[in-house]
């Protein structure tokens, strides 16, 4: 035992030391083994669950939106695939680098890159969307050079596509991605991030029908949140597509109407079936391209549209209100008949028009400077004599006039199934008192109101509603765009007696067909059936007067009522041909002989509309 240094130590000492060391060294091993036993045997189930959850990601799938079709089943709004480029969550620095690499391809400037980085900082756990709705060329380049863009992946979504573009923009509205603020609302509790939501028009009105039900899929993910594929043990819950809805719109008539309105800068036209309230076509000018909005419009372009002086987003058929001008005279005539001013044959009030009427201190001019001469009920409407209606207005009186106006409900919203309809206005004494102050206005106001001027205003749809009422001798239907049982759309009758309404048919037919009629130039040549209607001019203190025309066809048993307003269109007689041409288009579609012709015209418009 030649041990140096440890000589004092005996062999048994050393053995004891070694045994003690072995025990001391084994002890921690046993403790650790016990810990492992605890984790792996006693608590294994909870850790297994955790491990499962670790790699399991619940991904909510937004449902495809329901399709929108026209009354004949033509699809007007559909879903098409769109591709976006996203980047997996990664450290901010490498994210910045990845964006820089992508910037050449996606045309992102420094500012946009910074904005994206800021966005990513807020949501570090979820992928960052670098570009939405990329075109096929970029898609191909990215696919080809995938390895050069680490952490990139291409996501395919559905985007909304509006087949007819601008043509049906105001009816359909458009969609946009749901915002985080909206997601918090109870109403949208089952919506997922990135879901499209109706922002206006039918898309907004029937959001609950069109949306459908989201699906859920379970995918395996790695620690960086990259999806690796479906999770074997958990089948996905497939999303349920929203309901398809069918509109009352006839897209062919809509196209024809749009074509007619091409010349009009600002204005609107609406056509409906007076026997059901079904809207057949509805155009507002200027329009916008809803496809631009559904595929992510740039902030600048959005601002430009939003603040455009001609307000392209305004659906003027329901949101633009105008003094109805002479188109309102039939209402005045109806009130007169109700008050017994006219006999059953229309006689009872006659006047001589010498170009106006002196009432109190003011001279109320007729639109015809020389005057109409001797006027009765029939000719006063046919020639739209103001003097005659001033007289009638005086006889009716402001109070009665306004009372009938209010009670008819013609000035209240029609209840059409579109959001944000604007009501018209019928003033009364209280209104004048509030507006001008008591004593600052006189009973002479009724003269203006009776020819549809002054403070009175109606939207084109409300105006069409009045004529639908007249055309059907007093039937009332709520105007609507969703094709449905018309029994749901019946509105209660008004107090006007059918004979008094019927009295208007002859003069209104005369407006178009009488040699003296203000719209005689718009007579349907060669048609055995006649169109009836009424011209109107809305005085516009800010510029040229607005031209109006409301017509229905056929005059004796009307199937279609249409109203048009052309802002700065000067006079109703210049706008009447628009309605005439619409009626011709309608007749053509109905008779089918001209169907092809119109269809041919339509297909050209479809292709131009899509671009």
């Amino acid at each position: 035992m030649g041990h140096r240094g440890l000589q004092s130590e005996s062999v048994s000492d050393r053995l004891f030391k070694a045994q003690l060391a072995k025990i001391l060294l084994a002890l921690p091993f046993l403790i650790i083994l016990a810990i492992f036993f605890r984790y792996q045997v006693l608590h294994t189930s909870e850790y297994s669950l955790h491990s499962e959850e670790n790699r399991l990601r619940r991904i909510e799938m937004p449902p495809p939106r329901g399709l929108i079709k026209d009354r004949n089943g033509m699809v007007v709004a559909e879903n098409i695939p769109s591709y976006s480029i996203e980047l997996y969550p990664q450290p901010v620095d490498s994210m910045r680098l990845a964006l820089k690499r992508l910037s050449v391809l996606l045309d992102l400037d420094e500012n946009e890159q910074d904005q994206l980085i800021q966005k990513f900082r807020h949501r570090r756990q979820s992928p960052l969307r670098a570009a939405t709705d990329i075109n096929e060329k970029i898609l191909a380049v990215v696919e080809e050079h995938r390895s050069e863009f680490p952490g990139i992946f291409i996501r395919s979504d559905m985007k909304r596509s509006y087949v007819y573009g601008e043509i049906l923009a105001h009816v359909l509205g458009y969609v946009g991605e749901i915002t985080e603020g909206e997601m918090k609302k109870e109403r949208y509790s089952n919506y997922t991030m990135g879901t499209l939501i109706g922002r206006s028009g039918i898309e907004a009105q029937y959001e609950s029908l069109l949306h459908g039900e989201r699906g859920i899929k379970f995918t395996e993910v790695d620690a960086r949140g990259r999806e690796l594929g479906p999770f074997r043990d958990r089948p996905p819950v497939l999303p349920r597509q929203g309901k398809d809805i069918q509109l009352t719109i006839d897209i062919r008539l809509q196209q024809a109407m749009n074509k007619l309105m091409e010349e009009v800068d600002i204005g609107s036209m609406v056509a409906m079936d007076p026997n059901s309230g079904e809207i057949l076509a509805m155009v507002s000018k200027p329009s916008f391209d809803p496809n631009l909005l559904s595929s992510g419009i740039s902030g600048d372009e959005w601002q430009k549209l939003l603040f455009h002086p001609n307000k392209p987003f305004l659906n003027r058929t329901i949101q633009g209100t105008y003094p109805p001008g002479s188109t309102f005279k039939p209402f005045t005539a109806m009130v007169g008949a109700e008050l017994g001013i006219f006999r059953k044959d229309g006689s009872g009030l006659e006047t001589v028009c010498r170009g106006g009427l002196q009432y109190g201190k003011r001279f109320f001019k007729c639109w015809k400077p020389g005057g109409h001469g001797r006027m009765g009920y029939f000719q006063a409407i046919v020639q739209s004599c103001d003097t005659y209606f001033y007289q009638l207005g005086i006889k009716i009186g402001l109070e009665k006039f306004c009372q009938y106006g209010r009670e008819s409900g013609f000035f209240a919203i029609t209840g059409i199934d579109l959001p944000n309809e604007v009501a018209g206005l019928i003033p009364d004494e209280n209104w004048y008192n509030r507006y001008y102050g008591p004593g600052n206005w006189g009973p002479g106001n009724v003269l203006n109101l009776s020819i549809g001027q002054g403070e009175i205003s109606l939207s084109p749809l409300e105006l069409a509603g009045i004529y639908a009422y007249i055309a059907t001798d007093g039937k009332r239907f709520r105007p609507h765009l969703l094709l449905q049982d018309i029994n749901n759309c019946h509105l209660p009758d008004l107090s006007f007696s059918p004979e008094n309404i019927e009295l208007l048919r002859q003069p209104l037919t005369g407006v178009v067909n009488d040699p003296q009629g203000t719209a005689r130039a718009s007579k349907l040549w060669g048609q055995t059936l006649l169109m009836a209607g009424k011209t109107g001019t809305a005085q516009n203190p800010h510029g040229e007067d607005h031209g109006l025309f409301v017509g229905f066809y056929p005059a004796n048993s009307p199937e279609i009522v249409a109203a048009v307003v052309v802002e700065h269109g000067v006079h109703g007689s210049t706008t009447a041909p628009l309605i005439r041409d619409l009626m011709l288009a309608y007749i053509g579609l109905k008779e089918g002989g001209k169907k092809q012709e119109i269809a041919g015209l339509s297909s050209k418009q479809i292709s131009s509309g899509i671009q």
Partner: protein, 401 residues
């Protein structure tokens, strides 16, 4: 030796498994192949070293030690930041001097302790051996590599014990660390009890009962008192990320996405392995890259996940057996230098195993210490095989009892 080979094979298997990730790999390195290459180098060194006489080792121990110290200082002086690598000129082989310095320190300490005639039972006599270990440990700590410096502490305690230093002295030597630890726990208020106070009272009783030299007793008492009192300012002087590391050690749930992530994911991997494991190459935590550093620090979690408790127990028993064999070897070795060296190597392995495995279940702080023979890492594998080479030589020269 068989045990060594089984463990090495197990290590290679697990590194191979760790290579098999389903997810997209960012770095393309295949560790398994690299480790095989390292094993070749390591085995060569094993045979070379085992041919070297222990007397020659003893003679060159201080020289080797000095070279390592110079290397560490050189590295500290030249490298900026956390560079720990030394590239052998002309090759692409990177060495970590810190790993090899463990062996150098063991040899130097063994050489010093075996040359001492008298029994070491005073603090004064302990100063030099402590210094031998503290110099490299301090340099490594500055790198900064907390894990490796902890290993030096294991080596110191183990070899002092084997050299016959009374247990009470070893206890006193560790006591400032325990003091610090308990004071921290008390400070952070994780437990209601003033643990540090209790420990201090216990320490005083121990000192009194064991009749330590008065001078030593006073010094130890004061040192403990100081650490206890100074913990608070020391804690406040730590950088927030350092504080955070310590806090997360106590409560991984504090920061499940950040610092606590490793521990939680490691526990999940181990726990979900169950009794039998998910099967080789089937670990989902690993496959999906939830496990951090699965080739190195957390390779044991991977064993736990894929082979379950049985696999864990198997590996741990092998390790325990290995350590027992080394302790046995140090008992029967012919010279006290050889004996001390063997025991130092046993301490080295023991420290690595306990700290690494303890870390995977959250009972030890995350330090980045590799698991001997199993973790990926060339320098450490080389160190291990050099150690085995020395052990093999000691075995050859053993006194034929």
């Amino acid at each position: 030796m068989a045990v060594v080979l089984i463990l090495t094979t197990a290590g290679l298997m697990m590194i191979y498994s760790a290579d098999q990730i389903q997810t997209i790999r960012l770095s393309g390195a295949i560790y398994y192949r690299k480790q095989l290459l390292w094993l070749l180098i390591a085995l060569t060194s094993f045979f070379l070293i085992s041919a070297v006489n222990t007397r020659a080792l003893e003679a060159s121990a201080y020289l080797f030690y000095a070279i390592m110290i110079i290397l560490l200082v050189y590295l500290k002086a030249t490298a900026s930041g956390v560079e720990r690598w030394l590239t052998i000129p002309g090759t692409r082989i990177n060495l970590q001097p810190a790993e090899l310095s463990k062996i150098a320190t063991i040899l130097a300490l063994a050489s010093y302790l075996s040359s001492r005639k008298k029994r070491i039972d005073t603090l004064k006599a302990l100063i030099l051996p402590i210094m031998i270990v503290m110099v490299p440990a301090g340099l490594v700590l500055l790198q900064p590599d907390l894990g490796t410096s902890i290993i030096f502490f294991f080596i110191l305690c183990g070899m002092l014990y084997w050299a016959g230093v009374p247990l009470i002295y070893l206890f006193l030597l560790i006591s400032p660390i325990i003091s610090f630890f308990l004071a921290l726990v008390t400070l952070l208020g994780h437990m209601r009890l003033p643990l540090w106070g209790l420990f201090f009272v216990f320490l005083c009783i121990m000192i009194f009962y064991n009749r330590i030299y008065l001078m030593d007793a006073v010094i130890f008492t004061l040192v403990n008192l100081f650490t206890g009192v100074l913990t608070s300012p020391l804690w406040n002087s730590l950088k927030p990320y350092q504080q955070n590391r310590i806090l997360v050690f106590f409560q991984p749930e504090r920061d499940p996405q950040g610092s606590g992530w490793h521990i939680i994911q490691s526990k999940v991997a181990i726990g979900s392995g169950g009794l039998f494991g998910k099967g080789y190459l089937e670990g989902t935590q690993k496959n999906l890259a939830f496990l951090p550093a699965q080739h190195t620090d957390f390779i044991f979690s991977l064993i736990g996940e894929e082979f379950g408790f049985l696999g864990v127990a198997f590996i741990l028993i092998l390790f325990l057996f290995l350590i027992h064999r080394i302790v046995e070897l140090s008992r029967i070795s012919s010279t006290s230098f050889a004996s001390l060296t063997a025991f130092g190597i046993a301490s080295l392995f023991f420290g690595h195993i306990i700290v690494n495995v303890g870390m995977t279940v959250g009972v030890m702080p995350i330090t980045g210490l590799p698991l001997p023979l199993i973790s990926y890492g060339g320098s450490f594998l080389l160190t291990c095989y050099i150690a085995f080479g020395i052990l093999q030589r000691i075995y050859i020269e053993r006194s034929g009892v």
